[in-house]
Amino acid sequence: MNLQVDENGRLRHFLSIDGLNRDILTDILDTAESFAGVTEQSIKKVPLLRGKTIVNLFFEPSTRTRTTFELAAKRLSADVLNINVNASATTKGETLLDTLRNLEAMHTDMFVVRHNDSGAAHFIAAHSQPHISVINAGDGRHAHPTQAMLDMFTIRRHKPDFKELSVAIVGDILHSRVARSQILALNALGAGEIRVVAPRTLIPAEIDSLGVQVHHHLASGIRDADVIIMLRLQNERMQGALLPSAHEYFQLYGLTEERLQVAKTDAIIMHPGPINRGVEMDSQVADGARSVILQQVSYGIAVRMAVMTMAMSNAQQAGDQPS
C-alpha cells in the first residue's frame, strides 16, 4: 500500500520519492515547467488554489525551504499560515497529534511538514482527514522529495537525457534526506550512473541496495561526472567523531576548480544550500560558471507549485467522494 497515491495512481500526498514511478515524476517536472513560465511573468499569480488554506508546519528551523513553499502557495493564490513549533516542546507523540487535530479544526487543506523524525510526514498523512494533503518538506534523515524534484528539474533543464548521465553526490550521505531522495529520483528517472562520495563514517549501511556506487575518494568519485551534487556538512558532525575537522574534510572532499578538472568539462555543480564556503567547496566553484546553485532556488518555487497543485486536486476529489 502506498499512502501517497490514490487508486488511480495519482498523487495524494508527497511524502517520499520511494514508490513513485517515472510517469508521476515526469508529470511533476512537466507541470513545474508550465509554472516556471508563471514565475517569470511580471504578475506572478495564478488562481488555482484560491480559497485553500495551506499550513507550513515546521518543527525544525528553516528559512529557505519554508520561504519557497510560502511563495509557491501565494503564487497559487492560497492562504498560508506559518507555524514554527519548537521541537523540544513536542517530544511526545500525543502533542504532535494534538497539534494536528487543532489545525484540522481550522479547516486546513494542506500541511507542508518539516520534522526531525524520519517518518513524521507519513505519520501525519496517515492520521489526517481524507481531504487533507501532506507535503513532506523534510523528515529526519528520510526524505526531502521536493528538494530532489527541484534538483531533477534543474538537471533536466541542463541535461535532458537522464540515461546518459553520471551523477556524483558528495558529502554526508548518512544524515542526508536530500541524498536519499535524489538517489531514488535519479534511479526512477533512469539515470545512467549514481555515485556517492564520502568517507566510511558518512556512508549509511548497505547503501548499495539503493542502486549507487560507493567512492571514498573525490577524484574517482567525480571523474567524468556530468552532475556533481555537494551536500551540506553540519558542524556537529565534527563533535560526533564522524570527521576529524572541517579542514581535513575540505582537503579531501572540498570542491575546487583544480579538482573539478577530472569531471566532464560541461559538468554542472549543485548544492541544496546553504553552502559552507571553504568546507564543501570554495567560492570560486560556488560562484563559477558551472554552478547552478541559484537556479535550484528559483526552480524550487515552480516545482513546489506543481506538487501542491497536483496533490491538492487529487486529495480534493478523494475528500468529495462519500467513502
Partner: protein, 424 residues
C-alpha cells in the same frame, strides 16, 4: 478441591511423557498422572478429549507495568491475560518504578500477584542499584525476598562493575540475566542497521551492538564461572557465539522473544510503530539463525518480552514511539506456528515454553511431576482463531499480529489447582 482432567494427550517434556492419561489434582498439587486412580472422588471433571494437556507456561520476560505505570497495565490485568494465554509463571524485569532493587518492591509485586491469583510472578532483581550501573544491589536480600535471578536492563557500560556484579551474584548463587547491548553502538538507534534503516532514514542499531556485548560478557563469564543467561537474542552471530561458549562448557543459556522468530526488518515497511522493538527486528538470515538456535537447543527458552502500552505510546513518528509489543497472548500461538513451519518437534516446542525456562530460573515449575503445584494449560489443537483487539485480554493492544490467524487455542488454565481461565 479435587479435579480430574481426563482423556487428554499429556505432553510433559521434562518427564518424557506424551500419551493419553488423566491428571488427578488435590488441593494445590498434582497427585497422579495415570489411567486411573482408585478412590479418587473428583469435585470437578475437565474433559480433555482431543486436547493437549501441558504444563503451565513459564515466561522469562513480561513487563506488567506495576508499580509505576498503571496507565499502561497492572499486575491484575496482565496476569489475567497471562492465564488466558496458558502462562502460569512470569518473570518481571527490574525496570518498574520504583526499580526492583529493594526487597520491599519485590515483595509488593509478589503480593499483588498473589491477590490477583492468576499466576506466579517472579521479580528479577536489578543488578545494580537503580539500574545505574554503579553500586551493587542488595542481592542477598533480594534473593531472600523471592527474586530468582538478577538482571540488567539496557547496557551496563562499566566493565569493572559488570565483573563485580557477576562475582557477587555468583557468591549468592544467583543467575545473571544479560540483555546484551553495547552502551555506545547504536545508542540512539531504533531499527536494525541495514537496508531498511538506510531506506527509511532510521538511525540504526548494528549487529555489533549485540555481539560486542556478548563477547565482553562471555569473557567475564569465563573468568568468573557465574551462571549467566542471555535474554532476547536477535542476531545469528550472537547465537553462534553462545553455541560456541556452551560447547566450551561455559554455564550459559539463552532465550529469544517469539516475535523475533516471525518478523524481520522488512515488517517495519512504512514505519509501522508496532514493529518498533528492542532489540530491533533484524534480517531474514538472523531470523533463520534464531530458529536454528531454538532447534539446536542453544536457545532453551522462548519468551514473550511482553510490553503493553497505552495507544498514545505508539502514535508518533517511528523513533519517537515507545518500543515493545503486547505479547503474552501470542507467545504460545507463535511458538506453535514455529513447530508447524520449522519442523520443531511438538515436545521440544513445549519444552522451550515450560521446563526450559524453569530450569534457567532454577525453579520448581514447568512440569507435570507428581507432587508439583498444579499449573496446567489445556489446548484445543484444532481451534482456528484470529487475533483482534477484542480478544486481547491484556490492557495493551499494541501488537503487529492483529489479524493473524492461528491454529490451536488455550481452553483452560489451572494455577495452583484452580481453574483461572476457561475459554467461553
Amino acid at each position: 478441591m479435587k479435579i480430574r482432567i481426563h482423556g487428554g494427550r499429556i505432553i510433559d517434556p521434562a518427564n518424557g511423557i506424551d500419551q493419553q492419561l488423566d491428571i488427578f489434582i488435590a488441593d494445590d498439587n498434582i497427585i497422579a498422572v495415570a489411567d486411573k486412580l482408585d478412590g479418587f472422588d473428583a469435585d470437578q471433571e475437565i474433559d480433555a478429549h482431543d486436547r493437549w494437556v501441558i504444563p503451565g507456561l513459564v515466561d522469562l520476560s513480561a513487563r506488567l507495568r506495576e508499580p509505576g505505570q498503571e496507565h499502561k497495565a497492572t499486575i491484575h490485568s496482565e496476569t489475567r491475560a497471562a492465564a488466558a494465554a496458558g502462562i502460569t509463571t512470569l518473570c518481571c524485569p527490574p525496570d518498574t518504578q520504583p526499580i526492583i532493587d529493594t526487597p520491599a518492591v519485590a515483595e509488593l509485586i509478589q503480593n499483588r500477584a498473589e491477590q490477583a491469583g492468576f499466576a506466579n510472578v517472579l521479580p528479577l532483581a536489578a543488578l545494580t542499584q537503580g539500574l545505574q550501573g554503579e553500586q551493587l544491589s542488595e542481592m542477598a536480600a533480594l534473593k531472600q525476598a523471592g527474586c530468582p535471578a538478577v538482571a540488567n536492563v539496557g547496557p551496563l557500560a562499566n566493565t569493572q562493575v559488570q565483573r563485580l556484579a557477576m562475582e557477587y551474584a555468583q557468591t549468592h548463587k544467583l543467575t545473571v540475566f544479560i540483555q546484551p547491548l553495547d552502551h555506545w553502538l547504536g545508542r540512539h538507534g531504533c531499527a536494525h542497521e541495514g537496508k531498511v534503516s538506510t531506506r527509511l532514514g532510521l538511525p540504526g542499531i548494528p549487529v555489533a551492538a549485540e555481539t560486542a556485548a556478548v563477547a565482553r560478557d562471555l569473557a567475564l563469564i569465563e573468568l568468573i564461572g557465574v551462571k549467566a543467561h542471555f535474554t532476547r537474542l536477535s542476531t545469528l552471530r550472537a547465537v553462534r557465539m553462545v553455541a560456541r561458549a556452551q560447547f566450551d562448557g561455559l554455564p550459559v543459556t539463552a532465550d529469544v522473544c517469539a516475535h523475533q522468530l516471525h518478523l524481520t526488518e522488512m515488517d517495519i515497511c512504512d514505519y509501522d510503530s508496532h514493529c518498533h522493538v528492542l532489540p530491533p527486528l533484524r534480517t531474514q538470515r538472523d531470523q533463520e539463525g534464531l530458529r536454528d538456535g531454538v532447534k539446536q537447543n542453544v536457545i532453551q527458552a522462548i519468551c514473550s518480552d511482553h510490553q503493553p502500552h497505552e495507544a498514545d505510546a505508539k502514535l508518533a513518528p517511528f523513533c519517537s514511539t515507545q518500543p515493545g509489543i503486547s505479547a503474552l497472548e501470542t507467545l504460545l500461538p507463535l511458538s506453535l506456528r514455529l513447530h508447524e513451519e520449522n519442523k520443531l518437534p511438538l515436545s521440544e516446542t513445549i519444552r522451550r515454553l515450560t521446563s526450559g525456562p524453569a530450569q534457567i530460573l532454577g525453579i520448581d515449575a514447568g512440569t507435570l511431576s507428581i507432587g508439583r503445584q498444579a499449573d496446567i494449560c489445556i489446548i484445543d489443537p484444532e481451534h482456528i482463531w484470529q487475533l483482534n483487539e477484542d480478544n486481547i485480554r491484556s490492557q495493551g493492544k499494541n501488537t503487529p499480529f492483529l489479524g493473524w490467524e492461528f491454529k490451536a487455542r488455550v481452553t483452560h488454565t489451572l494455577h495452583r489447582g484452580k481453574l483461572v481461565y476457561t475459554l467461553d
